[in-house]
């Protein structure tokens, strides 16, 4: 076989390998559907169409909102009819893409009797559909950074191999696509994470209420919870149940979520302050620290909070003691009861703790014989 012929064949094989397309009529009766967990498991009562200008992506198209009886947006979907082009040749990709109300990918459905195919008319296997749905659910897929042309595997070869910092080491396109359907995978992924997501978030935002947020917070998906937490601020002060739910989500094993919650919570409310104090008591160091830092921003601390933190002091060490004392100092706490409890720390075996108590008491200048006696004793011990 001549070299030329081999390379032509190779090119064709590569072309076919990368070419995945839908539109072939099959014998299958039921439409092919692959879905991920729903954010809201509610029955759909009606569907509302919205005409949206998706600009360069597809121009004007209809985005459908599926709504429950109570008016909650359960899902969104778009019927996609898109050209997938490579080397000047285009084929039609026909599918319906679904999103959750938080913009998270939900699933895809093919028109009745249609299927996705690879290379030369080879239909997707069930495993490949499942894999496709997994790829589409991965918002961090490197497909987001590849260019359409970089899908040709050889383009990936010279990608840098830096250690542990930038893009994954030697990314291999084949790991992120369905073999034989690179362009289809790529196109679908970019449709999922394109401008539709933003439109969905805007539409859901319009119907947002404390009740809807509560429902979204019940989702098992962390991304959904994060989405809701970022939007609780306008609703939370007036809604005890939402407060309780949000505070209950501050947990050791969910650092990012806990951090986001602590950031969003207003500190003006006494019940929220109490909730934060409870979360302080039951969570680990990383979270304790966030809570104390947050409370430093509160305009004042309720007496209950002061008592709670003061009573926790003897059981704490090092930086936890230092940061609580700093909190009490910033909030200008200088009542004798608190002062006496802190004066007891002057007798701590840990000189760091004793010094922190000493710094606090000398700065707060509380007029109390017991405190003064303890201070004098500490000073003479230091000499």
């Amino acid at each position: 076989m001549s070299l030329k012929l081999i390379s032509v064949l190779k090119l064709t094989a590569l072309f076919l390998l990368l070419w995945g397309i839908s539109g072939f009529v099959s014998e299958v009766a039921e439409p092919i559907r692959y879905f991920r967990p729903y954010t809201l498991a509610l029955p759909v009562a009606k569907t509302i169409p919205y005409l949206v200008d998706f600009e360069e992506e597809t121009g004007t198209d209809t985005l459908f909102q599926a709504v429950s009886q109570e008016g909650c947006p359960v899902s969104y979907f778009r019927h996609i009819q898109n050209n997938v082009c490579f080397d000047g040749k285009c084929r039609m990709l026909v599918a319906t893409l679904y999103w959750n109300p938080t913009g998270r990918y939900l699933g895809f459905e093919l028109p009745k009797g249609e299927f996705l195919s690879k290379t030369d008319h080879d239909p997707f296997t069930p495993e490949e559909y499942t894999r496709l749905s997994e790829i589409l659910a991965d918002s961090l897929s490197p497909l987001g950074t590849f260019t359409y042309n970089a899908l040709v595997p050889k383009a990936a070869v010279d990608v840098q191999k830096v250690d542990a910092v930038s893009s994954p080491t030697a990314p291999d396109v084949l790991d992120y696509i369905i073999k034989g359907a690179a362009y289809t995978t790529y196109k679908l992924w970019h449709l999922v994470y394109g401008p539709t997501q933003l439109e969905i978030e805007k539409l859901t935002q319009k119907t947002l209420s404390a009740d809807l947020l509560l429902k979204i917070l019940e989702s098992n998906d962390l991304g959904d919870k994060m989405w809701a937490v970022r939007r609780v601020r306008p609703f939370i002060s007036a809604h005890i149940l939402l407060q309780q739910k949000v505070i209950s989500l501050i947990q050791d094993n969910q650092y990012n979520l806990s951090e986001q919650i602590i950031r969003e919570l207003p500190t003006t409310d006494s019940t929220i302050q109490r909730g934060l104090a409870m979360a302080f008591l039951k969570n680990n160091y990383a979270i304790k620290k966030l809570i104390v830092e947050k409370l430093k921003m509160a305009s004042s601390l309720t007496p209950e909070m002061v008592a709670l933190f003061t009573s926790a002091l003897p059981s704490l060490q090092g930086e936890s003691v230092a940061s609580i004392l700093e909190l009490l100092r910033i909030k200008k706490i200088n009542d004798p009861v608190t002062g006496r409890a802190i004066a007891d720390l002057l007798r701590s075996d840990n000189n760091f703790v004793a010094r922190k108590a000493y710094d606090f008491l000398t700065k707060q200048k509380i007029n109390d014989p017991y405190i003064e006696e303890q201070l004098t004793r500490f000073q003479s011990k230091q000499k």
Partner: protein, 457 residues
């Protein structure tokens, strides 16, 4: 009269020419006698040598537990590889969605992130190929200031610009002589922690240390700009780069034979300084000269190429960061098999988490841990064989090369730093040597100070 005048004039000339006349002082100036090296003697409970990634944490832990602590650092600021080396992306604190390294290291990292309005990574995303996303990007210089403040707050006495010159065992501890600019200090301590990254103090104290025949390359971190990567003709650039290598104008290994990588990364973690060793002033000088020469040559080369004429150096670290030098020969040597199986020891005092990550001249292809695996560090790996009152923390932990390639990362070094600090505190309080302290007590102290200790499940 005339004679006397002449004599006086001659005398003054003579003294002038001999240079012994007292200089005429301007108002406010004082005359300083020649400097003689000052000798000082200090006594402390705990001495930490090396104020880098691990050493700072060990010192703060010791200070916060109330022990008198001195930290000796031969550079001008704290943080070591994280700050001066410019590797300001500590990893990895979370494994499989759960925090495994916390405590003082995490607190400091979190404080730097908050003060720079940076975003913490989403720690719930899966590991494997996504492991770089788990590293926390820091403003290194801000971090250097924050950790210094925390050391001072913890009562740690900082001694910059000093290095040990002699380490002698003494009854109940060590006598360490250090030398800095115009100062010689004799520091008597009960517990000594070597956090130099090079097992320098360990070796000076007479305990054997190990190294590989060929160590991983170091890197000079820098940032370049002034070009539009997308519009570059990479094919042409690559061809010219290969020509320059052929002609001996550039060295293939300086940038991993990958000029596109240099341009894409804009200098972030792409340089390779082969054989870089920070153990002594002489070896570190060589590494610095090599790293800077390679960068300067490459900058000149880049500026001669189309689209890159305006390439600029935006920033560069003050020294070449070093990946690997010496490790201690500890009571236990953590093996690759221990690491990849997440072996739990009776004396595990901290977790570690990273793929096996050995760099060669071409770069690195990380070998990821299997799902659910979280390796641990036994206390014995932080204690040189036959030593008393002596600990190490950081990349010189006792381990084989493959295990070390993962153990050396920053969060793991911080975890070890806290464990070593806590152990030294208890050893000094109880008048014991580190391996005589109860592991239960060590774990309790670490937890009281926010650290996470390995537990059997």
């Amino acid at each position: 009269m005339e004679k006397m005048k002449r004599r006086a004039a001659l005398a003054s000339l003579g003294s002038l020419s001999l240079g012994v006349s007292t200089p005429i002082l301007e108002k406010g100036e004082v005359f300083q006698a020649p400097y003689s090296v000052k000798k000082t003697s200090l006594k402390t409970d705990i001495l930490v040598v090396g104020g880098g990634t691990a050493g700072v944490i060990a010192a703060i832990q010791a200070g916060r537990a109330g022990r008198k602590t001195i930290l000796v650092e031969n550079g001008s600021q704290l943080g070591g590889t994280t700050t001066t080396g410019g590797v300001a992306f500590p990893g990895i604190f979370f494994a499989w969605g759960k925090q495994v390294i916390s405590g003082i290291g995490w607190e400091l990292v979190q404080a730097a992130v908050a003060m720079n309005d940076d975003q913490l990574p989403n720690f719930s995303i899966p590991h494997g190929k996504n492991h770089p996303r788990h590293q926390v990007r820091l403003n290194g210089q801000l971090y250097a200031m924050l950790i210094e403040e925390k050391c001072v707050e913890a009562g740690v006495q900082l001694r910059f610009y000093e290095t040990p010159t002699k380490v002698t065992p003494q009854k109940n501890g060590w006598l360490v002589q250090t030398m800095g600019k115009g100062v010689i200090a004799e520091i008597s301590c009960n517990q000594l922690i070597d956090c130099t990254g090079n097992a320098f103090v360990t070796s000076m104290a007479g305990f054997p240390v190990l190294r590989e025949a060929e160590t991983q390359p170091g890197s000079l971190m820098f940032q370049i700009g002034g070009y539009d990567f997308k519009s570059l003709d990479l094919k042409l650039i690559q061809a010219r780069y290969q020509e320059a290598i052929q002609k001996g104008e550039l060295v293939k290994t300086d940038f991993r034979n990958n000029i596109a990588g240099v341009l894409r990364s804009a200098g972030d973690n792409i340089s390779h300084v082969m054989g870089a060793d920070s153990t002594t002033s002489e070896t570190h000088t060589v590494a610095n000269l090599k790293g800077r020469k390679a960068l300067l040559d490459t900058l000149r080369f880049l500026r001669s190429l189309p689209g890159l004429e305006k390439t600029k150096l935006i920033d560069m670290q003050n020294e070449t960061a070093v990946r690997e030098t010496f490790r201690i020969d500890g009571h236990y040597k953590i093996t690759h098999a221990d690491y990849v199986t997440g072996k739990m020891f009776d004396d595990s005092v901290s977790y570690s988490y990273y793929p096996i990550d050995v760099h060669d001249e071409n770069g690195v292809v990380p070998d990821h841990l299997n799902e659910g695996i979280v390796p641990t560090v036994p206390l014995r790996a932080l204690v040189p064989k036959n030593s008393r009152n002596f600990l190490v923390a950081g990349r010189c932990v006792s381990s084989d090369r493959l295990a070390n390639s993962a153990l050396r990362v920053q969060a793991s070094c911080m975890g070890m730093g806290q464990a070593a600090g806590a152990t030294a505190v208890l050893a000094s309080l109880q008048n014991k040597s580190p391996l005589e302290v109860s592991i239960k007590d060590i774990k309790q102290l670490i937890e009281e100070h926010g650290g996470i200790v390995p537990t059997f499940v």
